[in-house]
Amino acid sequence: MLVAVAVFPGTNCEIDTKYAFEKLGAEVALVFHKEEKLPEGTDLVVLPGGFSYGDYLRSAAIAKFSPIMKAVIEFANNGGKVLGICNGFQMLVEAKLLPGAMKRNESVHFISKFHPLKVVANDNLFLQKCTIGEVLNIPVAHGEGSYYIDEAGLKELYANHQVLLTYCDEKGNVQNPNGSIDAIAGICNKKKNVFGLMPHPERAIEEILGSDDGVKMLQGFIA
């Protein structure tokens, strides 16, 4: 299992992501944004969190034109598995690999804390090890994470089980930290090979650091 983790100027979660996937037994290659090709035999591409290109203009607006992103878009369009975390999720919507758009948090504040998430759909690779309704404790850290999609798009997401995770409280009741439509925290594309979420599962893989709920999420890609 080879995981390619893309690194852009301003990315800051690539080492955590590498650590997480290596802990799960995968081989991990860091791939610089100027590369035009993914490593031979890449099974999964991860676009990690951070502030690519300083978040100038809009989060991830510039990253989508990086040489490596051309390869990632081609990989995804050929059915390759792609996971975008936080800034990576923003890249996936900017690159139109996932529908919708990301807005400034409703509170206008940067939010950095553990936040419970509810599993909405598990008929996909990513969350296959989780049960529907299960509450996971995962850190969030973003200023532009308010997910927006129009009504027709939202209907389509639900119809195809593309809404993966929503923000909730510890008991699983809706609790929306950033103003996302329907408190959505993570989605996938129609073909279910491209996944994006604002929270950071790679930061929740050691119990001693607060939670290891990220393990069963990321493990979905390994099995």
């Binding site: 203009l57 809009r58 607006a61 510039i62 034109f65 919507v93 900017e94 919708g100 758009a101 807005k103 400034r104 948090n105 409703e106 509170s107 206008v108 308010s146 927006y148 999609i149 103003g179």
Partner: protein, 81 residues
């Protein structure tokens, strides 16, 4: 040629920054303010003397990079120099 691009959130898309500023203005007793919307302005200096061509090019720039048309609208202006 100078071109000014104004970008703002579409009508109906909540603007949390505008809301926060509106709240601040209200607390300063500027009670006549009904709504605040915050956008951004991008000023371009481009090598093109034909206005029509310039507008076409800048429209493409907006669609490809400058604006996210899922949530943002843009206008293109040519200031009198």
């Amino acid at each position: 040629m100078k071109v000014i691009v104004n970008i703002q959130l579409k009508n109906g898309v909540l603007d949390p920054q505008g809301k926060a500023v509106h709240h601040a203005l209200s607390s300063l007793k500027f009670n006549e303010v009904n709504e605040v919307r915050i956008g951004k302005q991008i000023i371009l200096d481009i090598d093109e003397s034909d206005k029509v061509k310039a507008e076409q090019r800048v429209t493409t720039m907006c669609d490809e990079l400058l604006a996210n048309t899922v949530i943002e609208d843009y206008t293109i202006e040519f200031p009198a120099c």
